[in-house]
């Protein structure tokens, strides 16, 4: 990223900050923008928000565990070198400015001075280095956290406030990998208590955690971010995360005022709720929690070119059998949008001219299946049990493939079994999804590129042209050009069909009218620069 670019993003962040705090609250209640800008509602300090969430962290060490930035209260605790803004673009956080060398192999981050961890330790370059090394330790760092740093060869410290990342391969978008999600910073002095009392540098600090019950966070008084008037953020005194797994109970808890805010409303309830309770509650649409897809096993079996010369034809037959509108209707209750590529319209990475997957055409599907070798093979569809939409998409895909004459069975399994099936290749079709990636490289280099370990392990897709594009995009500095390259990759994916994109997973959050100035980013997180719970207050 060039200095100019970076300045631009910094500026847009400032601008954004100036207006959001006033805007966000007003926009929710439908006031015209200028009225909000005129400052009709002024943020108030204080108040604690009770947030009913579907999930909970499994453990407290934010390096060792995957702290999902949606639906896990602990995400309010985490902070890092960079933040993202409402559009999911990287902006300054602990680092004030950053720059890449001409060969894109060395990235230098200059830290703000006087920024602290929750325990008062100063965040300096040495501590950043220590954090990166801790995450990279395979015995400690969670595989997802580590995967953001796979390119890092070593980290050096220039001076107290300057830290340098030396990469193995050039990377034009490395900065997106040191955003607090997932590369968060913890205080080195707190490492031995990381499993019981985590100390990070996000907007809220840890107070207590009771598994399956409560996660209590309180305001971090020395958080680095301020609003346009220089008031320190967040406005809230704290947040209490209440994991309530059962959708119906979570919604009831909101309606009976036991919590102020909930996430992941059941798709069946969403349209009705907005209609019937829109007057007493605010709702916020999340347009792309992630991207759902149906992946084929190209490593072995009837969909693999290794075992079946007609593998591609068979995948085409399956693709023609999939009715995306049906999934739209049944799984998501007509919420959100059908996916033709990895990025939806709200994303800055949305590709406009992607050629979509084969259209729904049951007759063609049947004909192709009959013609292709292996069309009568017994097929197994699997889905992970953690997410209802994966199961329901799988269930629907099962029905649709059955309609086209495929001999399919469907199974739902917990994560360890699904992982085991990936490792052994004992599945044919996988109803899965991937959470939103801030930079496209995070999806394409990890899950489409033929040399990536996950590609090899899960579906085994290989296309030289695709590989070339992904590798070229990784070192392309021009954002528009990169976007086009990834769109081209998606076009090829839609043609080769290692997987069929199905859906941008939507979400709906709802809260009481007392909550002002709150809005999740379009991918769902509540902790981001210039918005979310950082700028929320309670009337």
């Amino acid at each position: 990223m060039t200095g100019e670019n970076k300045k631009g993003s910094e500026q847009s962040r400032r601008e954004f900050l100036r207006t959001t705090t006033a805007l966000a609250g007003a926009a929710m209640v439908g006031l015209p923008a200028h009225e909000a800008a005129a400052g009709k509602k002024h943020p108030k300090r204080g108040g604690t928000i009770r947030f009913g969430m579907r999930d909970d962290s499994v453990g407290l060490d934010t390096h060792r565990n995957f702290i999902y930035y949606v639906s896990q209260p602990m995400a309010g605790l985490t902070g890092g070198l960079l933040d993202f803004n409402e559009k999911m673009e990287p902006v300054a956080a602990v680092a004030k400015e950053w720059d890449a060398s001409a060969d894109l192999k060395t990235w230098t981050f200059k830290l703000k001075s006087g920024v602290e961890y929750h325990n008062g330790e100063t965040i300096d370059a040495e501590s950043v280095k220590w954090n990166i090394e801790r995450i990279l330790d395979p015995k400690i760092g969670h595989s997802f956290n580590r995967s953001a740093l796979t390119d890092v060869e070593r980290v050096t410290v220039d001076d107290k406030l300057t830290v340098r990342f030396h990469l193995r391969e050039p990377n034009a978008a490395f900065d997106t990998n040191v955003i607090y999600y997932p590369v968060n910073l913890i205080a080195p002095g707190s490492a031995d208590k990381a499993d019981t009392h985590p100390v990070s540098c996000g907007p809220f600090k840890f107070k207590s955690w009771k598994r399956f019950d409560t996660c209590e966070l309180v305001r971090f008084e020395n958080f680095y971010e301020t609003d346009s008037e220089g008031n320190s953020l967040p406005y809230l005194d704290g947040m209490i995360g209440k994991p309530k797994k059962e959708d119906r109970v979570r919604l009831t808890a909101l309606r009976t005022n036991e919590v102020d805010l909930i996430d992941n409303m059941a798709y069946a309830d969403a349209p009705n709720f907005e209609k019937e309770h829109g007057k007493s509650f605010n709702t916020w649409k999340v347009s792309q929690l992630g991207t759902a897809f149906i992946a084929f096993n190209l490593k072995n079996g009837p969909f693999s070119a290794k075992d079946n010369p007609d593998a591609h034809m068979l995948r085409m037959a399956a693709a023609h059998a999939i009715d995306h509108e049906g999934i739209h209707e049944v799984v998501f209750n007509k919420q959100g949008h059908i996916a033709k590529g990895f990025y939806g319209e709200a994303s800055p990475w949305h590709g406009k001219d992607i050629t979509p997957w084969p259209a729904f055409d049951p007759d063609k599907a049947k004909a192709l299946r009959k013609k292709a070798k292996g069309g009568d093979a017994k097929l197994l569809i699997i889905a992970n049990d953690s997410f209802p939409y994966m199961q329901q998409s799988g269930e629907l895909a099962h029905a649709m493939l059955k309609d086209a004459g495929f001999d399919v069975t469907f199974e739902i399994h917990p994560t360890p079994v699904v992982q085991d099936k990936y490792n052994k290749g004992t599945f044919d079709i996988d109803s899965s999804a991937n959470s939103y990636r801030i930079d496209p490289d995070g999806w394409f280099s990890r899950s489409i590129l033929s040399t990536a370990p996950e590609t090899i392990r899960r579906h085994g897709y290989k296309n030289e042209q695709v590989d070339k594009l992904i590798l070229a995009a990784k070192v392309e500095k021009d954002k528009a050009k990169r976007r086009q390259m990834y769109a081209d990759v998606d076009t090829l994916v839609n043609k080769d069909l290692p997987l069929i994109y199905t859906y941008f997973i939507p979400g709906l959050q709802a809260g009481t009218k007392r909550i002002q100035g709150y809005k999740p980013a379009f991918t769902g997180p509540f902790n981001y620069a210039g918005g979310g719970l950082r700028t929320a207050w309670i009337e």
């Binding site: 069946a268 009705n272 209707e329 269930e395 469907f410 739902i412």
Partner: protein
């Protein structure tokens, strides 16, 4: 009167195997029928079960749709002439799903309980009959399994069976083995206890004196006499197994769709409990009905078969 198979009633009537069997059998059947009518709960349960089993047997003829055929354009339809109970979230006919699901569920429950009995009874009877060290070791194993509190044994076994499932073995069969196996220790302990009591009785001593072999005594003489408490236990167990399957569905360990399954259907209908409550109501009521029928009947049977209570 004809609905109850005579072979079962012979068992209910607590008859030792003696000459003049047929005559005793007829007498037994009429005695059982008399007792059944006397116990109001058993009588209600009995007729509820008659309706249930008739529906299960008649399913292929009275179901109107393919239970797994989805047509999502017609999803969440209210009850109508075409779909008696409406359609579910995938547009499948709820009425047909209930019938096929019930047939499947009742079969699984029956097979699982039978499997548990057929493992547990020989285990318990032989252990009790031989006594001594064999009994001690055998019962420690049973006690170890019974020390699993509540659902945990079921959770472990079903998780294991479901995830470890061998290719080619039908999923439902796995459920039968898992649920049956989890029932085994209870059966073993119950049959061992009654065997110990029976062992002391005169007729066993008599058989021994005649020179019958141990196995022959254990199987021929003791077995028929300990079976009535087991029948009661098994009947109530049938209902329990159905509830366990429902609970496992809620926990995500149930039968994967689209197989018609009351538990999974009820669990999946949770999302629609406010917007389309009927979808959840039908499988829920079906489960209640069936379990209640087994419980009423089993409860009544206990009255009939427990002579102490029957005297009143």
């Amino acid at each position: 009167m004809t609905e109850l198979p005579a072979s079962k009633l012979a068992v209910f009537a607590d008859l030792p195997a003696l000459p003049g069997r047929r005559k005793r059998l007829v007498a037994g059947v009429s005695r059982a029928w008399y007792e059944l009518r006397k116990s109001r709960t058993a009588f209600i349960g009995f007729w509820m079960l008659v309706v249930l089993f008739s529906a299960c047997i008649a399913t292929p003829w009275i179901a109107t749709h393919d239970p797994i055929k989805q047509s999502y354009r017609e999803r969440l339809a209210p009850p109508s002439e075409k779909h008696f109970l409406g359609t579910d979230r995938m547009g499948r006919d709820i009425y047909s799903r209930l019938l096929w699901g019930g047939r499947r569920l009742v079969t699984i429950a029956l097979l699982a309980v039978t499997f548990g009995l057929s493992l547990g009874i020989p285990y318990g009877v032989l252990s009790g009959y031989f006594g001594g060290k064999v009994d001690t070791v055998a019962m420690r194993v049973v006690d170890g399994l019974l020390a699993f509190p509540g659902l945990l044994l079921y959770l472990l076994i079903v998780t294991l069976a479901r995830e470890w499932k061998l290719e080619g073995i039908y999923n439902d069969l796995i459920l039968v083995f898992a649920l049956g196996f989890a029932f085994t220790p209870e059966v073993a302990r119950l049959s061992r206890g009654t065997t110990l009591a029976e062992k002391q009785k005169e007729y066993v001593e008599a058989s021994r004196a005649i020179g019958d072999g141990s196995f022959s005594i254990a199987l021929k003489q003791i077995l028929p006499n300990i079976i009535s408490p087991l029948i009661v236990n098994a009947t109530v167990r049938l209902g329990y197994v159905i509830l366990i399957i429902a609970a496992l569905s809620f926990l995500g360990l149930g039968t994967p769709p689209p197989t018609p399954d009351w538990g999974s259907d009820l669990s999946a209908a949770r999302d629609y409990m406010e917007t389309a409550p009927l979808i959840a109501a039908f499988p829920g009521i079906a489960i209640c009905y069936t379990v209640l029928a087994f419980n009423l009947f089993g409860d009544g049977l206990r009255d009939i078969l427990d002579p102490r209570l029957a005297e009143r």
